[in-house]
Subunit: 233 residues, 2 copies
């Protein structure tokens, strides 16, 4: 099933964007009367029939609106951007596939980048959402000072920190069906001051295992583990 | 700590390859008398002192040989190569970071590629091993027929299969401190015949969760979960 994205979809706004129209009509050669599935990125799938197969503005009518199955947990990943932009894009793709709900980029003491274009990351997330047949587009926030991330709300707040004396693994600290906020540091990790302020704000310091992981790998591992614990034995 | 790789290291063979010599002496400007750490990729680190800082053949003497901490589990990932070679390289990098021991590429019924250059994948694995400060280079096997993969030995053999009626999640099926073989299929998944033959050969069909994952994401998720279960509560 090929999924199309139209964030402004409503009863009165039943057409694809120019880019999606071109893909639908020109690349996939969809014609009037054919069925397509469109998502609004806000949790809904729409079964539609093409009414005008125009390569610039493909129009359709909605047959049925279906809600995505409700998830009982929420993952907010706050992560320091990698120096290499490709690695950050990979992370956004993989985290989206693994069902992340929100990504916030951290501007911290050891940050390697002080400006990030989130437009490109949003494109990657849209593509990954469509590819993995989801109807929820993750929120991607621009760079935020580490101190302001400490104010975010969640049932469980974690800070991943490379510390071989720390026996608390995320897998054992996270409780299923909660909202989670997990912070992943840059290559040089969080500063001691950042770690102390997070712990002061109620964050729990967790490990992601003995392997030394790159930032983006740690981000993906966190999403993977928080997903896995939702499954009952 | 910058780690160098010399697969043929021994008492009588104490120099870096041309590529590593250039990196050590030309790029990092290491000089005679400076300390470096070299790995043989077979589980050992060597603390060394440079005796000849030559950009083509950097010589050193071994001060101490240290074994990497022993792992009590072994991960063999058998995976269908992705159509896009970048995605396969990315998987090799991430699996190496996450401590995979062996990767075998599957030539199966729905395979998208029938030839793979493993040289490039080996380079990626070497780089990831050095980056993540490991001393064990994963074995990377060329494409093998799916039927021959069924003969590999392991304490626990799994086949990941997208089947929403399958309640067995890898996280709950895998037992810690075992050797694992896990098979991940191509985009079109394994054929019914392949699945049946694997089950006949003692493989357990497992799920990696409800998300529809790309092949390389599934491979990474499997390594991540098999690592995580080793940690005691």
């Amino acid at each position: 099933m090929q999924l199309f994205f139209q964030p402004d979809l409503s009863e009165n706004h039943c057409w694809l964007t120019e880019e999606e129209s071109r893909h639908c009509v020109k690349v996939l050669r969809k014609r009037e009367g054919e069925a397509i599935v469109v998502t609004d990125g806000c949790g809904f799938f729409y079964d539609c029939i093409i009414t005008k197969a125009n390569t610039q503005k493909c129009e359709f009518k909605i047959q049925e609106k279906r809600a995505e199955p409700k998830k009982l947990f929420r993952i907010h990943l706050a992560i320091a951007p990698t120096k290499n932009p490709d690695r950050l894009e990979w992370l956004v793709e993989k985290a989206t596939e693994l069902g992340v709900d929100e990504i916030t980029l951290i501007d911290g003491d050891h940050s390697e980048r002080s400006f990030i274009k989130t437009e490109r990351l949003l494109k990657v997330a849209i593509s990954a959402m469509k590819q993995s047949q989801k109807a929820t587009l993750p929120i991607i926030n621009p760079l935020k000072k580490f101190s302001s991330i400490l104010d975010y709300q969640a049932d469980q707040k974690f800070i991943a920190y490379v510390d071989h004396s720390n026996p608390k693994h995320l897998l054992h600290e996270a409780i299923k069906e909660k909202s989670y906020l997990i912070c992943i540091g840059p290559e040089g990790d969080f500063s001691q001051a950042e770690l102390a302020s997070a712990i002061g704000a109620g964050f729990v310091k967790v490990s992601l295992g003995d392997s030394r992981l790159r930032t983006e790998t740690a981000g993906m591992a966190a999403c993977c583990l928080l997903n896995a614990i939702q499954v009952s034995v």
